[in-house]
Amino acid sequence: MKVLERAKKTLLADLFRQMYLIRVFEEKCGELYGKGLIRGFLHLYIGQEANAVGAISVLRPEDHIVTHYRDHGHALARGLDVNRCMAELFGRATGVSRGKGGSMHLFDASRNFYGGHAIVGGHFPLACGLALAAQYKREDRVVLVFFGDGSVNQGTFHEAMNLASLWRLPVIFYLENNLYGMGSAAGRVRAAGSDFQGAGHAYGMDVVTVDGMDVMAVREATQAAAERARSGKGPAFIEAKTFRFQGHSMADPVKYRGHSEVEHWRKRDPLVTFPRTLVENGLVPEKELDRIRKEVEATIDEAIKFAEDSPWPGPEAVNEDIYA
């Protein structure tokens, strides 16, 4: 509560706006997928919004972000153009990756947003490398890398944790523990189950556990991690406990978890709890939230229209962008 009161009201309203933007974007994506307008693999971020929004809100523009295929939330929180994100999902020439990446591979160099990577665990080395470049050039930047509980079982996770810690690289490892990797609960695929403390300790890192459904808590934890990374003390590790409300991807019939578990987490939906707290404590009036909701919905409608009206990439694009 204290954290909330200290925060500026415009900031609080903006955090809500961003989370709502992601929520509506994702809901619409789900619909559009059903209509065949978005294709390929589509992984929705619904339920996890507080993580992307909270963590990215404390970064500076010059900091780097690397993430995995469940990347829409991170991209939007980083301020990637909503129209161009939607156009990318539609496979249009105006997309952030010129229609060559799709949902899982959103990139925007101008916002230091380095993807969108769909080999599970494949983006950890990239995060280390970007941090190495910053350290080498004595630049004041940190790298925030998002990943899931499933990717912790990849060799690259352990190799990258070791390398980052060994070289004191300014990396923030941000684990979005949504309890499942596809249909596999951590306890079924990890010797240490869902306890991630040891994963950090093995490489000399403390693991800060945070409520990934609470945007303010996420902000605080990431702020502390960023300060540590910036001060040259080396990498930081955050484990956010969170939940995806929908299936792993649009192809997932969700047979591996019970309804009651989903209901339990839905009660903690950041898009229910956060606005309620704001209103109840007189921080942002309901009227203002409604105004934001309408504005966001219009933004998404416009993005869909932009994507639909955008041209397909021409055949010449096939052979472009292979070599510099």
Binding site: H64, F107, I119, P125, A133, G155, T156, A324
Partner: protein, 320 residues
């Protein structure tokens, strides 16, 4: 060859503060093949960077740092270990530019000792430069002479794309002229290393050494062979090969590595597509045996094609 590479690496380090070297035991140890011996004393541990035995991650980190504005030169201890890093090399190194619609550059040089002949058996003798040469986004070079090694390294360092330099281990000790000036050897250009009019021999790296032995033996019988060194495996310089075949009407392809799906399978296919009418007979293709590299000396020698095997293939195909 070793000194030529060292000279190229020193030039790069001296000429650009964003160049750094990275690899397992390239620092205090001096490199598995002593290419970077003494470098750490000259340039310090930040630029001559020893790494943990984590190929996928350190190569991925080097790629990341290239995207972040540095110009890394990575050394694999052996191209065999590159298998552990194929994920990062191919899924990010070769693809991120395309996948992002042209937003990123990956200026990295990856040096990889390759090839067999020194009895290291199956885990340390296989060559994968042909696999890497099939990946769009990469450039792949494989020098035979010290001159080419330095010239290609310079060109590689001027590229804003990932360049893989396959260095055949049996060639590190090879001697040859290297001028003092800052010449370069263009990537994508094959070299006619010996002119001749009766048959074209195409090879790369250690295979070129074999090709010269073949040419010597053919010469005793009055046959003049032309030896073409591919130098670049991607892009492949078919023009030089076809021009030569137009003159000789015969071609033998020599490849040390596995014959199936080897580099020369591609060259052969392209010759059949583009130069079928130029030939007096089929392509004579000689490749390494399709077996895991054996340790024992006589066995190892058996699986790598030697000049006699090439001569036999030429006789069988062209009757000369």
């Amino acid at each position: 060859m070793r000194e030529a590479l060292q000279r190229g690496l020193r030039e790069a380090l001296d000429g650009n503060p964003n160049v750094y070297l990275m690899g397992e035991d390239i620092g205090a140890y001096g490199g598995a093949y002593a290419i970077t011996a003494g470098f750490i004393d000259e340039y310090g541990p930040e630029r001559i960077r020893d790494v943990p035995i984590s190929e996928n991650t350190f190569v991925g980190a080097a790629i990341g740092s290239a995207i972040g504005g540095l110009r890394p030169i990575v050394e694999f201890m052996s191209i065999s270990f590159s298998l552990l890093a194929f994920d990062q090399m191919i899924n990010i190194g070769a693809a991120i530019r395309y996948m992002s619609g042209g937003q990123f550059k990956v200026p990295i040089v990856i040096r990889a000792p390759t090839g067999s002949g020194i009895q290291l058996a199956a885990t340390h003798s296989h060559a994968f430069e042909n696999w890497l040469a099939s990946v769009p986004g990469f450039r792949v070079v494989a020098p035979t002479t010290p001159y080419d090694a330095l010239g290609l390294l310079r060109s590689a360092l001027a590229e804003d794309n990932p360049v893989i330099m396959a260095e055949h281990v049996s060639l590190y000790g090879r001697r040859g002229e290297v001028p003092d000036d800052r010449y370069t050897v263009p990537i994508g250009k094959a070299d006619v290393k010996l002119a001749g009019s009766d048959i074209t021999l195409v090879a790369f790296a250690h295979g070129v050494v074999t090709a010269f032995e073949v040419a010597d033996k053919l010469k005793e019988r009055g046959i003049a062979a032309e030896v073409i060194d591919l130098r670049s495996l991607r892009p492949l310089d078919m023009d030089t090969i076809l021009k030569s075949i137009a003159k000789t009407n015969r071609v033998a392809l020599i490849d040390d590595n596995w014959r199936t799906g080897g580099m020369m399978a591609e060259v052969s296919a392209q010759i059949s597509e583009q130069g079928f009418d130029l030939l007096d007979g089929p392509v004579a293709r000689v490749g390494g045996d399709d077996v895991p590299a054996p340790y024992s000396r006589p066995l190892e020698q058996l699986v790598i094609p030697d000049s006699d095997r090439v001569i036999q293939a030429i006789q069988k195909t062209y009757g000369i």
